[in-house]
Subunit: 210 residues, 2 copies
DNA sequence: TAGATAAAGTTATTTGGTCACAAAAGTAGG
DNA sequence: CCTACTTTTGTGACCAAATAACTTTATCTA
């Protein structure tokens, strides 16, 4: 773990803090598709993302889903911070978009570190900052963009976080994450294919030029 | 100022911090309708809300608006925190929904206090926490609710923050804040009136039972 | 290879939102 | 207090996007 830790967080945290994390942190690898956190769960430890991508989803009472944003390398989940510090249930679901590696830190420690380490304080504040901005962008998308624009944005983002021009999702899955119907997504994807921006295949979309 | 300060924040902050705020803070009263903060502005001082209600709006590049949430008594604006700590431009517009009173605190101080006062740290974190949750609720509304449900929620919220069963807005103004068209709002309001939930008058809506 | 299942395509219908105009309610000047 | 003007609200025709129901195509497996 210490290697991944210093590689990823070495420039961010003081040595003393790195050492503490090394002491109490739990290194964990999780496979693509696995659920890290479910809505309504209490959180006992906070994840520091070492590698991979996590997607954060919101769900209403009727099983309708919406993708909020992706967490990437070096991020932490401000929602989790919120839960930890406020001792409240999780408001979101977190799923590994790719294989990922995490360091899990006990809640009590992170409170302690807030007063002890300036770098930790900055890290936590910066995380909140980032998450607020991501959420704002999500709001922008659903409030101001039409579905075709949202789809384009989604495809781009998805390709970017996966570092791949191929997206291995069904139309239904995309529809869930954008909270619309499969028919709508199929229609819009077909339109994009006709514009030679993508090619469609069963279970997978190739991005040509967006 | 010291009176408003201790009344509002006395139980929250240590005495030493209260004293510092009293030293450097600037008391300010602003009338209903005035703009506290405009998108793209840099923030030089952070407002602590003493009384009144502030509404926070988002705008896209085409002048389309969306109400994000209200700030009430004792809140501070996490967006402003974000700006201050990150030294970035404001992403939102803040307008006084009612007459309001604020204490303005210089940015440099608030960074200093983060390491100095535990209560300040908690206050800042709690603010982020609250704002994230408000934003999440906003996302829920625009993503999962139909326009009629959003309108009901809006009317309730507006009545609540104004502590009044009357809402003095035009249909057009409501439409702006919910980011839809005036026609849609008029139609839905008419439906609500037919259900005896509200009565409509020029420039003002009375809530009967929601 | 047949049957089952999952994904994608098609069409008709419904709904929510836009446009353009009309009516009503306030406002100001004579 | 009457008229011209502005602002706010109401309405019908229209359009586009979402939904539902069904068909076709691809994939898996027994």
């Amino acid at each position: 773990m210490i290697k991944a830790l210093t590689e990823r967080y070495g420039t961010l945290f003081e040595d003393a803090l790195l050492e503490e994390i090394d002491q109490v942190g739990l290194y964990k690898e999780i496979p693509e598709g696995s659920t890290l956190m479910e809505i309504g769960e209490y959180i006992k430890s906070m994840p520091l993302l070492v590698s991979g991508v996590i997607k954060i989803l919101r769900e209403d009472g009727h099983g309708d889903e919406l993708l909020l944003y992706f967490l990437e390398n070096g991020d932490t989940c401000a929602m989790t911070l919120t839960c930890c510090l406020g001792h409240t249930k999780s408001e979101i679901r977190a799923i590994a978009e790719t294989d990922a590696a995490l360091i899990m830190v006990p809640v009590q420690k992170m409170e302690e570190w807030l007063s002890k380490y300036k770098s930790w304080r900055n890290f936590v504040l910066q995380s909140y900052h980032n998450r607020l901005n991501e959420l704002l962008e999500t709001v922008d998308s659903i409030a101001f963009l039409k579905m075709d624009e949202r789809l384009l944005k989604y495809l781009n983002k998805k390709a970017k976080v996966n570092k791949d021009h191929n997206i291995y999702s069904t139309h239904q899955e995309i529809a869930y994450e954008l909270h619309t119907s499969r028919v709508v997504i199929s229609r819009l994807l077909k339109k994009l294919e006709n514009m030679d921006k993508i090619t469609l295949n069963r279970n997978h979309i190739t991005i040509l030029n967006l």
